[in-house]
Symmetry: C2
Subunit: 429 residues, 2 copies
């Protein structure tokens, strides 16, 4: 009897996508150089993970359930049973969205997901027909959405990005081209506040224009809200969903950054009515979810709900300290780059100055590829993320991404010194 | 500006599958008749959810992490960060599989998933090419696997079930027919121990024969191990994976029943080498998982690991009390049916006598449909699950499923009395 190896060619083809390979490579480099200063991961700062009291948050949510009239035993069991596919904490999330984001969403129009990632998969699966519909994404683009599209064998069309977000003229052109090709540009994915990795932010005018275009060209807008909380307190802009009088926006959020990633809790607001069925899109998403993860861990939902309750059901209160730290870190990183490399800043090497988010993007005069990363890690002890993997259809080969979220001020200072030395010695800037 | 309703016809077609509709209907009936005795849900018994001490299990796992040399702070942070896509507790699960199931699986050949459901989706996505490959399932079949196939637009072929599990002759015929049609029967899904809902159990000989057939016809076996723990202690049979000298079996397990559903933790053993890449199938599954849920909540994994550690890394020790209760309940349900309805048992009404699992299947002389369920609920206060929804391509219209897992002995007695009255009055048995 022979041991059945799996013929690689017999697997689903898109598994061999270079993206997954390059993400694996990055993790592997980080493992090999544990002492390097890493600007690579967009992970939350460890400071926010040390004082988490999960038990207290669970008790806070149990108090809430008992306050609604449940017996202590019934309340506790809700955390351990399967629970509804749509979620257990939708009312609390609904309140938070209304208080801080000006989003009016009925709890039944919300689905609690295993992170924003599952939300993206559910939305694409509900809206898109493979081989027919096209998803527009800003280029460069968050790999979670293009990855979910690839899992479903959906076609993406890459639209350039301006500092004010996705290029709306190019998007309008893509709509017309899709139609001419007998297809349908079904939805456009955008992260209006500090896109990862591009760093762009849509102005209020651009937001209104995108919504008007969606009306005119009949597509939906998939809004990813992950980094909006990092905006300075006096620089908040309304999310697209708050401006969505035409019912064009499906809003995806995550608690990974305002609470903690290990909970794996996110949400989708999908209030669009489905024909004359009496259902809304959230019902369809919850139905699909039953064959993806059945439901989001009620235990994890309880922890998140407890955190929200402890902060008056306010995302803004919950994220205030975090927002301040990330603002500080980002400004510090940009300041350090300006001070260490300002004299060589030119068309050969440059970086953007985003007003929020976790990331700075840098242009080099040479390919920022795996070989260069290996050199940077082994000889200079500094890591970063090659940008090419975020581009659809090529591009970004001479760019890298620097994340500031995970580091302390002194690490940022030391990391930028190493990066400057690396760039001077190896790249000749 | 008009509010965009979603045109139902514009959604992905399989959303309108009758299955999801019928599951929704069942939940809705249960909501409307909260005082009915329900043989519908295959949920764990509430007794096992009342004394769960999540905090203790988390501390137990933290002890373990510290024992491996991590600082207290580093150990704690592991629970709150993203963590590896493959999982955090693979070594402990690997030990448990070796101790109790005779499955030798390296931790790197295991992926920890958001329940068995995500595991099914990942396995199908990795192995199958849409439009080309066919999945064989026993008919009737667990809706989780057919649902995952539908999400990926994969074709299923239904194979009849004998008391000794899937009909192997019919399976061999299906392989040949697929080949003749220019397609490939890529894998066969089976739950060898007490399938849900059929209740069949594969003999040791049938297990060996299935593996030999898989070798001969070149397909993979997707083994669902959910109910194996309910076998009486002296009636254990080895899982297919323990007999899998040819590397044909992908083994899927869940902690929903041996621990608790709210953790949403399951696992896949996928040790098949992928070509000459140096990777195994588990690596492919972990890569796909990054675009489904990124990773399984480390917090939930910690709770499950703590439960395993507290029971000497033994699934059998962990599930002993549960196995005994479900055995008792199942035998009690069958005994009550035999005693209340034994005199009318005939070709017109009959039920099976499975040796384990949560479910008894009953044949009626009339359609066991939504109307009959409504009558049963409203006039007799007893609920059950129509079986037709578990059949692919029609069948089972005159069958219902009774679950014993969720109820106490006195509820089973009262429920069977109500069921007998319902059957005598409404069905005329």
């Amino acid at each position: 009897m022979t041991i059945a190896g799996l013929d690689e060619a017999s697997l689903h083809s898109s598994l061999r996508d270079p993206l997954l390979g390059s993400l694996g490579f990055l993790n592997e480099v980080m493992d090999r150089y544990p002492d390097a200063i890493s600007f690579a991961p967009g992970a939350p700062h460890p400071e926010f993970l040390t004082d988490l009291d999960v038990q207290r948050y669970i008790e806070r949510f149990l108090d809430h359930l008992r306050g609604e009239g449940r017996t202590p035993e019934r309340a506790r069991r809700l955390l351990y049973e399967y629970g509804p596919g749509r979620g257990l904490i939708n009312d609390i999330v609904s309140d938070a969205l209304r208080h801080d984001q000006e989003i009016e969403a009925d709890p039944t129009a919300i689905v609690i997901t295993v992170g924003a990632q599952e939300g993206m998969l559910l939305v694409l699966r509900a809206l898109f027909r493979s081989g027919e519909d096209v998803l527009a994404v800003a280029n460069p683009c968050f790999v979670g959405i293009t990855g979910a599209a690839r899992l479903l064998d959906l076609e993406c069309v890459a639209i350039g990005e301006t500092p004010a977000g996705i290029d709306l003229d190019a998007l309008a052109t893509a709509c017309r081209e899709a139609r001419r090709a007998g297809r349908r540009l079904r939805a456009c994915y955008v992260a209006p506040d500090f896109s990862n990795p591009g760093g762009s932010r849509m102005t209020l005018a651009a937001r209104m224009e995108l919504l008007a275009l969606a009306e005119r060209e009949d597509f939906y807008v998939v809004e990813d809200n992950a980094y909006a909380f990092t905006a300075a307190g006096d620089a908040q802009l309304p999310p697209l969903k708050a401006l969505d009088s035409g019912g064009r926006v499906i809003h995806i959020g995550t608690f990974a950054k305002v609470c903690f990633p290990g909970a794996r809790v996110g949400y989708v607001v999908a209030d669009q009515r489905v024909g004359d069925t009496g259902r809304v899109l959230a019902d369809e998403l919850a139905a699909i979810k039953t064959v993806v993860t059945v439901n989001t861990s009620p235990l994890c939902q309880a922890v998140i709900a407890g955190m929200l309750l402890e902060h008056g059901r306010s995302l803004r209160e919950l994220s205030r300290r975090k927002s301040e730290l990330y603002q500080r870190n980002l400004h510090h990183l940009i300041g350090a780059l300006d001070s260490c490399l300002g004299e060589v800043r030119s068309s050969r090497v440059s970086w953007n100055h985003p007003g929020g988010g976790f990331f700075v993007r840098m242009h080099l005069p040479v390919p920022a590829d795996a070989d260069l990363l290996e050199t940077s890690a082994s000889r200079y002890g500094v890591l970063w993320t090659p940008m090419a993997q975020f581009y659809l259809g090529g591009g970004g080969e001479e760019q890298l991404r620097l994340s500031c979220s995970y580091l302390d001020i002194d690490q940022i200072d030391a990391g930028v010194l190493r990066l400057a030395e690396f760039l001077k010695q190896e790249v000749g800037v």
